[in-house]
């Protein structure tokens, strides 16, 4: 068997193991370990297994994941966000899927605070999913909304993925950031549209508020929003005035949540304990899977599958549109299995020269790339955003239901992607204005 065949066989084996109820982290990591053993022998296999779990966890920028999870859990248990969702329900209740749309808007806003999609999902998940479920949303629908909405995190600046791409492709990070704004907002709009359409077609997904709501009731609801507003002002203000970085924002946000909960008189030992225990269990569960994904990425790097597929594309004589179409297919396929960083690092060395030869605009491609990678975060079998939400909702919603709930948003993402490919000025107009 050639290295490439071993790599592809490994991917098939991952799917089989997942079907047989093997825990996701185990299926990914186990196949990677075995695959590297086959390709490079036991020393390499043990070497990678000894290095990646530690190396992956010992990561400064990933610290925003547990910190934003904690912020979400504290906010949830101390009901910091309750007033907000009551108000949102009262104000948006007549809109089909109003609360879901409010969640998407919230995630888009939150994306301006964090550089990572996983952190955005972590922060929004505990706040939004229970609120939607309380209002009668179907669990898979509610969880799917948050998992998808979290992907806006890397599109609206700041964005760690864009920074890494910028350094890699030697294009302006500032231009990438500005270029992501319109596609980020469009993503939020497309998701909102998807929610509205789905609820229109199947009203059982998200029941409407039937009772008559008076304006005085609406205004009264607004005053319970202050704890959440305080949290938002603190996190946004500190970030935009440079007091802290996007990574540090998580810790400060969690700390602020504790302080606000204290002022509300909602902080007690039980709340603290629950928030902490659920945060650390959630974090280690996410890392257990992500470590498996990192091992699998390493195995695929060694097998050469991503580079091989990329080079297949690069050898064809294609128009730019055909090229983008094939690249889309490539990323949708690789994104099923690889984590976003690995997906990018393994393909760019081959794809960038091809794109440059085509004279493709690398800012435009960078934004498309972010979109590709974000889609990969919610496609099965390895959809890290979905796993984060699964962790947050626990046993109440099986993972297949979340993937099903997310699938509609993937379709809407593909439409948006086509739009961005066909109308590059949607990406390039704003950066053009600034430079």
């Amino acid at each position: 068997m050639s290295d490439i065949q071993v790599g592809l066989t490994g991917l098939g084996l991952v799917v089989v193991l997942l079907m047989l109820r093997v825990p996701i982290g185990v299926a990914l990591g186990g196949v990677a370990f075995g695959g590297i053993w086959v390709l490079f022998g036991p020393r390499a296999a043990w070497g990678i297994l000894s290095d990646i779990p530690y190396d992956f966890s010992a990561h400064w920028t990933l610290s925003s994941i547990p910190m934003f999870l904690l912020m979400g859990y504290v906010s949830y248990y101390s009901k910091i966000t309750e007033g907000l969702f009551k108000a949102a329900q009262v104000w948006l209740g007549r809109l089909p899927g109003g609360l879901g749309i409010a969640t998407v808007a919230g995630a888009a806003g939150f994306s301006a605070v964090t550089g990572s999609s996983l952190a955005a999902s972590a922060a929004m998940g505990r706040i939004a999913v229970p609120a939607m479920q309380e209002h009668g949303y179907r669990p898979g629908f509610a969880a799917g909304i948050v998992a998808a909405a979290g992907t806006i995190g890397s599109m609206i600046p700041p964005s760690i993925i864009m920074i890494i791409y910028g350094v890699f492709a030697e294009v302006s990070i500032g231009q990438l950031f500005i270029g992501g704004v319109i596609p980020g907002i469009l993503t939020a709009l497309f998701y909102s549209g998807t929610i509205a359409v789905r609820v229109k077609l199947n009203p059982a997904l998200a029941p409407k508020v039937t009772s008559q709501i008076t304006w005085s009731h609406r205004l009264r609801c607004l005053k319970d929003v202050w704890p959440f507003m305080l949290l938002v002002v603190g996190v946004f203000g500190g970030l935009f005035s440079g007091i802290f970085t996007p990574t540090e924002a998580g810790a400060v946000g969690a700390f602020l949540a504790f302080v606000i909960a204290g002022f509300m008189g909602a902080l007690n030992l039980q709340v603290t304990k629950d928030a902490i225990v659920e945060t650390i269990k959630g974090t280690s569960s996410i890392f257990f899977i992500a470590i498996g994904a990192a091992l699998l990425t390493s195995f695929l790097a060694i097998s050469g599958v991503p580079a091989f597929l990329s080079s297949l594309i690069s050898e064809l004589e294609l128009s730019q549109l055909e090229l983008m179409l094939l690249i889309s297919l490539l990323f949708v396929f690789l994104g099923m299995f690889l984590d976003p960083l690995g997906c990018m690092l393994l393909t760019l060395p081959v794809l960038l020269p091809v794109l440059e030869a085509q004279d493709a605009n690398l800012i435009w491609f960078g934004i498309l790339l972010v979109k590709f990678l974000e889609i990969g975060l919610i496609t099965p079998p390895v959809g890290l955003n979905v796993f984060v939400i699964k962790e947050i909702v626990g046993n109440k919603v099986p993972i297949t239901q979340i993937f099903a709930g997310v699938s509609w948003f993937i379709i809407s993402d593909l439409f948006l992607l086509a739009l961005l490919i066909l109308v590059p000025s949607l990406v390039l107009w704003l950066p053009g204005l600034v430079s």
Partner: protein, 352 residues
């Protein structure tokens, strides 16, 4: 035919790849008549900056790049070298001097590689670090109270010396931090204006030479891979690494030139440092170098630092002379490295 697995975490257009691995691999393929071939992973696709150490150690890659300040406990002597970064501002001379020091004159420097199943062959040097900032820096007063993002211990000491604070910001966050004021000054080569897009936000680059980063091991060999080669093949790899050393170093210089030319378009002022700034730096270097022996003993557990420091100063002088004599020609300088360094190495015993 042997297929060598090489891993660099440098992005594909980085000086480390276009100046280092590319010419090295071409040379080795050609000189071995295709007997030695390569499988190459760039951009951290096989291993990132930190995981390259275990990756080469475990034989997943045969050759890899190590930034040695990431591993202070593993490579104490390399930390000593890193702390001597402000002794010179001549990148090719520094690159050759560090390489010669380790390969010929400093056995403990080599031993810290062989004891881990690795073989050192070569270093390289970045261009001198400068002060990249949003506000003008004209005198030492402008440095007081500033927050600096630096590349290591020596620069952190310098930041303290000038009355500023060294803050820990990852390279992924440098752009954001400088933009929003979490960092006032990035201590970096001018090439960072482009590679990290700092010219989107910075207004000034003060060319106060603050030393280069040369604590590198560019072509770190896995020892059992090395042992399996014939002496002739080892010789080819050693000579090829000379090309790589000069290639990376000159690629850094080219990239700087390029960036400095474009800086105006990006509204970055390239500023010649005021005399008072230069004086302050010189005073720091003098004071700091006096503490070097003690530091080596206390922080790195190196008892015999003195002869190494002296020898390094001699080698710097020697190579500054050679660079002066030969001129800025990477191929000729690589040849000189082959003559002065690698021809004095016995490929039958080196690194074994």
């Amino acid at each position: 035919q042997t297929v060598i697995r090489a891993s660099s975490w440098h992005p594909p257009k980085h000086p480390g790849v276009i100046g280092g691995y590319d010419p090295f691999m071409n040379y080795v393929k050609k000189e071995s008549n295709g007997e030695l071939d390569f499988k190459f992973w760039s951009g951290g696709s096989l291993s990132n900056a930190k995981s390259t150490l275990p990756t080469v150690r475990n034989g997943i890659a045969d050759i890899g790049v190590l930034a040695l300040t990431y591993f202070p406990a593993e490579f104490p002597y390399a930390q000593l070298v890193s702390n001597m970064a402000m002794f010179s501002e001549n990148p090719p001379a520094i690159a050759a001097a560090v390489t010669e020091l380790v390969v010929l004159d400093c056995k403990p420097c080599r031993d810290e590689f062989t004891s881990k199943g690795l073989v050192f062959t070569s270093s390289y040097s970045t261009t001198p670090y400068t002060l990249i900032s949003k506000t003008p820096i004209e005198s030492p007063a402008d440095l007081k109270g500033k927050k600096f993002r630096s590349a290591g211990t020596l620069w952190d000491r310098w930041a303290n010396y000038v009355g500023g604070t060294a803050v820990n910001v990852s390279s992924a966050e440098m752009f954001e931090a400088l933009d929003r004021g979490g960092v006032d000054v990035a201590v970096f080569s001018p090439s960072a204006l482009k590679s990290f897009s700092l010219w989107d936000i910075a207004k000034y680059d003060v060319m106060l030479g603050l030393g280069t980063y040369a604590a590198m091991s560019l072509f770190t060999m896995n020892q059992s891979f090395w042992r399996d080669l014939t002496p002739e093949q080892r010789k080819i790899l050693l000579d090829g690494s000379a090309l790589g050393v000069m290639g990376v170093t000159f690629a850094y210089m080219d990239s700087d030139d390029d960036v400095l030319k474009q800086a105006k378009q990006h509204n970055v002022n390239i500023v010649k440092p005021g005399e008072s700034l230069v004086k302050q730096r010189d005073a720091f270097v003098e004071e700091d170098s006096k503490k070097l022996q003690q530091l080596a003993k206390d922080q790195y557990g190196i008892q015999d630092a003195e002869p190494i420091i002296t020898r390094y100063r001699e080698l710097l002088k020697k190579w500054e002379g050679i660079v002066n004599e030969v001129g800025p020609d990477r191929n000729k300088l690589a040849e000189r490295m082959q003559q002065e360094i690698y021809s004095k190495v016995d490929p039958k015993t080196y690194g074994m």
